[in-house]
């Protein structure tokens, strides 16, 4: 939806993910949208270089968040929210669904149709 403005569909997805989930790793974002992690990594790097995002090294992985010091942050968030409102319902639901409660590693899924990300 914002591809023309942002220059890439992947960049829009990355930003929407971070807006909904507050933070994310490249691999987790890629898995969420069923995309190649290198595609996502490329967008995350570009956004971090432009100070839109900040990255925190945690072990071998890098955790990304919006940069609260980014001058256009509030405007960007408004734009992303407006775009999300116009998304198809299934995408809106997917982005809005947050499962963050702890779960034992061998506990089977019991929610029928729960194919969303469940790990912490």
């Amino acid at each position: 939806m914002l591809k023309v403005l942002l220059g890439s569909k992947d960049k829009e997805l990355v930003l929407q993910y971070l807006l909904s989930k507050n933070e994310g790793y490249a691999t987790k974002i890629a898995r969420f949208f069923d995309l190649n992690p290198s595609q996502i990594k490329k967008q995350l790097n570009a956004l971090e270089d432009g100070d839109v995002l900040v990255g925190f090294q945690i072990g071998k992985a890098r955790l990304y968040k919006f940069n609260p010091r980014y001058y256009f942050l509030q405007e960007l968030i408004q734009l992303l929210k407006k775009a999300k409102d116009a998304y198809p319902d299934d995408m809106k639901d997917k982005l809005s669904f947050n499962r963050t409660a702890p779960r034992k590693h061998d506990k089977p899924y019991i929610l029928k149709g729960d194919d969303f990300e469940t790990e912490l």
């Binding site: 100070d51 609260p68 010091r69 001058y71």
Partner: protein
């Protein structure tokens, strides 16, 4: 002019680069931790020279000039074999939180004029690190700059409230008053 960074101090290095860019019509202003080094008179040390590029779309000219001065580009940074500092050009605009910086100071050295944010804005810039990241080191830098320079505390308070950080400003102000009494 070939730089001899070995014989320059930190302010001279920054002023030299700023002037060299100004000479090719690229306006930059020093922000970030390096300002805290200058305004704390060396009590805090930063290795990063963050020059905010205020000339739109001059990326190529900047890279060309920096390479000409003997720098090599390493990721986002420029490094030089004769100096310990790295130079970066964060993306515009020159702002602290959601507030644009309008007032710029200048420090003149024999190598050129360094455009730099004011001590008051430097305190706000460092406080932003404390407000947004809970970084105590940033708070300490803000205090160092505030104690050693004439600052506009009302301006800092107003900005802090606009950023939604009234409580953390009170922590800063409390520590500032204690240190000023001990001064």
């Amino acid at each position: 002019m070939k730089p001899n960074f070995n014989q320059m101090n930190s302010v001279e290095i920054a002023s030299f680069i700023c002037q060299q860019l100004h000479d090719i019509d690229v306006k930059t202003t020093l922000s970030g931790g390096f300002c805290a080094e200058i305004y704390s008179f060396g009590e805090y040390t930063s290795m990063d020279i963050d020059l905010i590029d205020q000339s739109l779309f001059k990326n190529i000219e900047i890279i060309k000039k920096m390479l000409e001065l003997g720098f090599t580009k390493v990721g986002k940074h420029f490094a030089h074999p004769d100096m310990k500092y790295t130079v970066e050009f964060p993306s515009s605009p020159l702002a602290i939180g959601s507030e644009l910086v309008h007032e710029i100071s200048e420090i003149e050295t024999e190598y050129g004029v360094l455009r730099i944010i004011t001590p008051t804005d430097c305190v706000k810039d460092r406080l932003a690190g404390f407000y947004f990241w809970n970084d105590d080191r940033s708070l300490e830098q803000a205090l160092l700059v505030a104690i050693k320079n004439k600052i506009d505390m009302m301006n800092i308070q107003k900005w802090s409230i606009n950023e939604g950080e009234k409580e953390k400003f009170q922590i800063f102000n409390h520590d500032y008053n204690i240190r000023m009494k001990d001064k």
